[in-house]
Each structure stands twice: as C-alpha cells, then as structure tokens.
Symmetry: C2
Subunit: 233 residues, 2 copies
Amino acid sequence: MKKAIVLLSGGIDSAVTLYLAKKEGFECFCLIFDYGQRHRREIRSAIKIAQSANSQWQIIKISLPWRGSALLDKDIIIPKRTSEATNKRTKCIPSTYVPARNIIFLSFALSFAEVIGAEAIFIGAHTQDYSGYPDCRPEFYQAFRKVITTGTKLGVEKKIIKILTPLIDKTKAQIIRCGKKLNVPFELTWSCYQGDRFPCGRCESCYFRMKGFKEARIKDPLKIGTDTNLGLK
Amino acid sequence: MKKAIVLLSGGIDSAVTLYLAKKEGFECFCLIFDYGQRHRREIRSAIKIAQSANSQWQIIKISLPWRGSALLDKDIIIPKRTSEATNKRTKCIPSTYVPARNIIFLSFALSFAEVIGAEAIFIGAHTQDYSGYPDCRPEFYQAFRKVITTGTKLGVEKKIIKILTPLIDKTKAQIIRCGKKLNVPFELTWSCYQGDRFPCGRCESCYFRMKGFKEARIKDPLKIGTDTNLGLK
C-alpha cells in the first residue's frame, strides 16, 4: 500500500486533506506539531481526527525559543478579523503568521517520508480564504519541490516525494462540501485561534469557518457559545 | 550592526564559518541543534566555540521520532571510511546521512532570522570532501533561496535573507588554513562521529580531518589516542 505523510493541525482543511488522501488509497501517517501554540485544543482535535480515519499519528514537539507571532505569544493580541477588502488593499500579512512555520513542518515531513519510504506529503494549505500567509501559496510549494529533488537522498536517486496540496485553489465552502461527501467528522475539528471552551466567533479563523459553512449551506456541528467539547478533554 | 544566524555543529567547518561571519562584521547568533545525535560531545564543543567568538548561542532541541541514520541510531554501525575512488564510483550516500537534516536546520534558522531581522544565515556546508550528502551541494542551497523568497514574510516584502555558504567549494585543507588565519580554536572542535574521549581515527569524519590538517601542513591540536577533553566537560 502506498504511504503518505499528512500534516494534521486539527482544523477543517487538514482533516479534509487526510480523508482525501485516504480516498486516494494512501496509508496515512499523520504528523501533529506541538510548537508552542497558544492552546492545545487543536492538538487534541488532530489526534481525534487521525483516530477517526484509522490512521497512524505522532506528535512532533518543537521548541521555538523565539516568538514573533500572535499564535505563539500571549502578549500579542489575536486580531479581530479585518475585511477581505482591507486585506487585499493593504496586502498585510496577519500577526498570526508564524515565521517559516510551514517550511519547518514540511522539513520534518520530508525527513519522515524518506525514512518510511512515503511517496507523498499532503498539506491542506490553500490561498482562497486566508489573507496573506506567504507559505500557503502555490509558488512556495513549487520552490519546496525543488528542495526535495536537490537536497534529499531520494531526490538525488530520482525517487520523488510529491508535495500534494489538493485544496490549494479551493474556497472554504468547497472544502467543506468536499469534506461532507467524505464524511469528515467536522464536530471533531477546531478552527478558533483562541483555545477556550467555545469558538470565539471573532477571530479571522472563526469568521472564515462560519462564512464557509454558510456558503456551503451546511450546518456546522460546532456552535459559538455552545459546549463544543464533544468528548475532547 | 547587521545580524546573522550561524548554524554551529561543533566541527571545524561551522567554527571557521562563524569566525568568517564575524570578520565580515556580523553580530552572530549561533543555533546549536540537539537532534538526538549519538553523542553530546559535539554540542559541548559548539557551545565552547560560540563562547570563544563572544557570540550568542542557543540550543534547539528537536525530537525526530524516526531513525534512519547511523548518526541517530546506535544499532547502525558507523562505517569505516571507504576510499574516495569507491565513493565516486558507487555514488553512494553514506549511512551517516540524516534525512533532510540541513533542510530542517535551515528552516529553524529562517524562522529565527525573520524574528530578529537577521539578513543572513551562514552554513559551513561544502562539497569537496564529503562524499554524497545531497544537502551539501550548491544546487540545494539555490533551491532553498527560492523557498525564502516565496514562502516567508520577508521574502514577500522583498527583504531577502541570504543563505551564505562561504566554504562551499573549498577543500578541508583550505578551510583549515582559513581557520588558522582567523585564529579559530581548533582544539575546541570535534569531528569524530563517535563520542568517545578520543577521536576514533577510523570514521570518515576523522579521516577527512586528519587528511585536511596534513595537506594544510598544520598540526591538529586534537590527537587520536590522546586526552582531547581540553576543558570540555
């Protein structure tokens, strides 16, 4: 059975990506990163999602002794969402950007892929909804593919490890519809940048989730102001 | 003062690279990786070298839950050196190759560089002596530079972080001569793949060190079979 590494965050995008990888016949090995994010809620979600898909998973603990992002540093306030128009006008990269995060995650995935002989790495990045994360753009993934062919043993031996971004051009609504068809357990996912008991409903990530479900005309099993714990301790 | 990140391993190459970076007027921030290597001797050496150059340093602890390299896995025997002719003929990548190691290290350096506003990352990789590490070749560094311009905030803002490999085309003898001129404290460096009290004198890394000093006509302060502890506890 062909093997794939799947980067799993606990959010909707990576959950749908995992289910897509399984549908394509891959045996999936999920990597879940504990990188000092503000809350551990999304890690617990990621584990539940991997288990729901009967996939192997492991947590990679990374110590980043520096901060520099609202997602790592509790002294930086998580911004309320700004309008897409404002984001497009200012071309602003949000304070929730974590420097080189996806590059670090992909590097670990690549190392693991070489060791177990996986032929693909799946990552649920996409450009449509999020405003301005540079490491969610196709040109970045194209550049990283070149790193694989030049900087790894398998690349030199012409055995390519593919970086697959099946959601790259999809909107949140399209991703949610796709997940619905694949029976992705949305109730296990977590999107909110805060790690409270309930999604805050004010951060950019909550906004895009709500907007996505609304546009997809699907009911989100997670509700703001409702107990969304759903067995996640 | 312009800032640089220097990847410091405890060996000769990265020590010379640090001293070169300082000579070029950079304030240096050394990253030392504790990635589960077979011995901690080289980490202690790296700290001493950073201190000798009055540079800041920090240890990044990485857990790689997979093995796949003789440098990580004590069950894999460190190979004795094979002749360069054999290496060139077989184009073999040694079992001491750690999958995606330099890619992981550079990713962390990049994250740190973005946070502190460093304009360069120095790495002491070179192609001349080591036989077959794919992540020591110029084409890999070229590919990684493209990752920076496409996948980071600074890259998108056209503020480039340079990846500098000042030793890339140098032989070990040239590196040692260069280090001698810069007063690099070779007695603090550690090259041997084993972490015993004395360098083993049999592994590839010991061989290249001995050959380098011989060709440079410089006496190595570390001697095989002599107490080389030199204050490194």
